[in-house]
Amino acid sequence: MEPLILPVGKYGTLIYIATDRFKSELLSLSYSVPLEGATAQKNAMVTALSRRGTVTYPTQASLNRHLDEMYSTAISTSNRRTGDMQTLSFTADFLGARFVGGGKGLLPEVISVLSELVRKPLLDENGNYIGAFVEGEKQVLRDAIRAAINNPRGFAQAKARELLCAGEPYGISLIGEEDSVDLLTPASLAARHCALQGEAAPLFAYVGSMPAPEVVALLENAFGNFGGKGAAYQSLVRAHEGEVRCGEVEMPLQQGKLSLGFRTDIAANHRLAPALLLVNEIYGGSPASKLFLNVREKKSLCYHCSSSLDLYKGVLFASSGMQVASRAAAEEAMLAEFYELQQGNISEVELNAAKKALANTYRGAFDNPAVLSRFYMGRVTANAFETVDAWRERLMRVTRAEIVEAANHISLGAEFFLKGTVPSGEEEA
């Protein structure tokens, strides 16, 4: 399942992955634009509004019913970071041709619907979005912004990210702030949609069994003149300098949630990128990691204690939930494990376990079209293309010295504590 990278029309690119392994197929369209405070929220709104109504499917209900008729084709949207870029995606998951009567199957119709969603939103006679749709989506957006508190762990990590990357695109919210929602209008959003149409370079990914020339032809027919050159990929990747930035907020919760933000000058294109992935894996990436085995299992300080890495930005977050009184002990233990890693205290068992876990993850990617396409879309967007197998082989060649070297490129930059204020004794009624 080696991918082919093919041009589509003037500005588009297709990541084509041929396989008949699955009963369903996947087609996604994404475009990445610089993540900026002035446009991030509008971009999120334009993406959401596409589901409200199009020229052919003027209501959400009519669009959903059409997708139902297409053997329950699902089209999801996403809004995420790739480095300091905002990546907006539409992903269709649909039954393969052999289960829907053969022929070309559902792909032509899926492409037609995707094109409709992206290019033909329902507009009024003045070329603006429908007012009622905009007002409805504004309320959904306000709710989503406020709902950050519903997920305490995610809230703590978002705050740590804001502290760690303050003043940078990565530090801003992908859905913006509540006070700017009121300023959104049908006209300003239509203008943003129009601008995206002209500036974004479409990136497609297809995982399925239709021959590549036919897929390209179908895409060019629907998207041939769509988009523009696209903005150059950007991601400010650097180690943290200066004091550790600290934040704390109280909430009526039983636990405290601690998020530690680390930063490095290593990202996907760096020679130590595979070593960085292993640093995260050994530190807190799995149940065989230092955080899990030592902070959770040996010290019994918490249930959840893990770390995650964004390879495109070079940031790593370690998070944990514990009784408020145990915050200092948990933080000390989490940092101590990290310093152990920096000092090279990595056992043979830990190293092998981490390599095998990552090998398993990347071999397993071939079983999941969504994982496979996301891997390549990230790589193409960040100009860091390599195949899954080549990446896995690089991971397997990483030495202990490289892991220690990568770990010493990392420094703590931020810590955020969400302090629970509900007494954590026996809380049963």
Partner: protein
């Protein structure tokens, strides 16, 4: 004993072996990179009948506690470490009705499968390790208490059921797990972890005979066969409480409407038919393509995330409708009015055909993942049904059957509303 099940529609097949120890071994060959295996016992949070002739109470949360503790080996090692050494990704979960130990791997399958069978069949508990686990699980319980969606779900179950143990928190409480001792764990283990009460399911690029041989090398020749105690809790259709409200860390109220269903067929195929019929009916009534969702959403009464999930086991059944709303009571009223209208007017046949097709497509798509196949197969095994028969059952469902379900399931006395409202200062 060996039995092969085939599906022409899907082009798939799987094999069942019944091992001399009583363990049922299911192997579903699938040309994928990852192989997924699970070893499960038909024992979950609802199984709380007292043991030792009624002398030993079973504390709430013991199934989940046991799941955690089985990973600790007698030599002081942790099963996770062994799986990691094989490059396998291991995990476990406990639900209302079962406990499942699992792994996925892309190499060293035989070693990983041996480890799975070994650690689950060799319990080792001491007072010290039990005490340590109490600390970890207490934090898990607190974490769940901080999750408003979990709280809303359990309040919904409390609203539906007066005494059925499905309403017990799967993790138990800080005080209930404090009563767990090694003796309790050993007794529970001996009762519910008999191999005849368990199933091994493997899906991946493997052959049935090879899997059987590996498992056979790690299993005893024979084992005790006792039928575990099952407490049958009989409940009427009426709900325990019609409304439960709690305050939580939410920006906007979240709600969970429960619909109690007690008409549970004894016969597995009939249960399967009811389950499939309810899946079609829920799609017709509550999906994003339907009248109800779009009306409520367009009026701004609900947030986009609105879901309907029907759960049916041999012992309990309920439908859950979940979402976010500024006024959950108004949404509840509108849903009840809509259901009453549908009952009076009847369903639309075109909707039935569309939703029937959706269920067919979803069934086929579910055979693209070794993890999903293994877990779905397990559900069928413990419910006494056969996986491939679902397609036939689905095809046998007609419009009249679904209309009958509508009339039977939805009634004002079967509903409960659970709401988590924001704290005042957060509004």
């Amino acid at each position: 004993m060996k039995q092969v099940f085939k599906s022409e529609l899907l082009g798939e097949q799987y094999t069942l072996f019944t091992h001399s120890s009583g363990l049922r071994i299911y192997v579903f060959p699938k040309k994928m990179t990852s192989t997924y295996a699970l070893l499960a016992t038909d024992f979950g949070a609802v199984d709380n009948a007292p043991l030792c002739d009624g002398k030993m109470p079973v504390p709430d949360g013991v199934a989940h506690f046991l799941e955690h503790k089985l990973f600790s080996n007698e030599d002081g090692s942790d099963a996770f470490e062994h799986f990691s050494a094989c490059g396998a990704d291991a995990n476990a979960y406990t639900s209302h009705t079962r406990t499942v130990y699992l792994f996925s791997c892309t190499e060293n399958f035989a070693d990983a499968l041996g480890e799975l069978v070994d650690f689950v069949t060799h319990p080792y508990f001491t007072a010290e390790t039990v005490q340590k686990e109490q600390g970890i699980i207490a934090e898990e319980i607190r974490m769940c208490r901080d999750n408003p969606y979990d709280c809303c779900y359990y309040n919904m179950l409390e609203g539906l059921y007066e005494k059925h143990p499905v309403k017990i928190d799967i993790c138990g409480s800080v005080s209930s797990i404090a009563a767990i001792t090694p003796e309790v764990l050993y007794e529970v283990y001996q009762t519910y972890y008999q191999l005849s009460n368990m199933a091994l399911v493997v899906c991946g690029d493997v052959t049935p005979d090879a899997v059987f041989e590996i498992a056979d090398n790690h299993l005893p020749r024979c084992a005790e066969h006792r039928i575990p105690p099952r407490r049958k809790t009989l409940e009427g259709r009426a709900v325990n409480r019609a409304r439960i409200e709690d305050v939580g860390q939410v920006a906007k109220s979240i709600f969970s409407i429960g619909v109690k269903d007690t008409a549970i067929p004894e016969e597995p195929t009939e249960r399967l038919k009811r389950d499939a019929g309810m899946a079609i009916l829920c799609e017709m009534l509550f999906s994003e393509s339907g009248e109800l969702y779009n009306t409520l959403f367009d009026e701004g009464l609900i947030s986009p995330e609105f879901s309907a999930d029907y759960a049916l086991t041999r012992d309990f059944a309920f439908l859950q409708l979940s979402g976010e709303a500024n006024d959950p009571d108004l949404v509840f009223d509108r849903i009840r009015a809509y259901l009453a209208k549908k009952k009076a007017e009847g369903l639309c046949f075109a909707d039935f055909e569309r939703c029937h097709r959706i269920e067919y497509a979803e069934y086929i798509k579910s055979f693209d993942s070794t993890e999903e196949i293994a877990n779905t197969l397990l559900s069928f095994i413990f419910e006494g049904a056969e996986l491939f028969s679902y397609a036939e059952v689905l095809m046998s469902i007609d419009f009249t059957f679904v209309e009958q379900l509508l009339l039977e399931v939805f009634d004002d006395t079967h509903y409960t509303l659970s709401v988590i409202v924001p704290k005042k200062e957060e509004i």
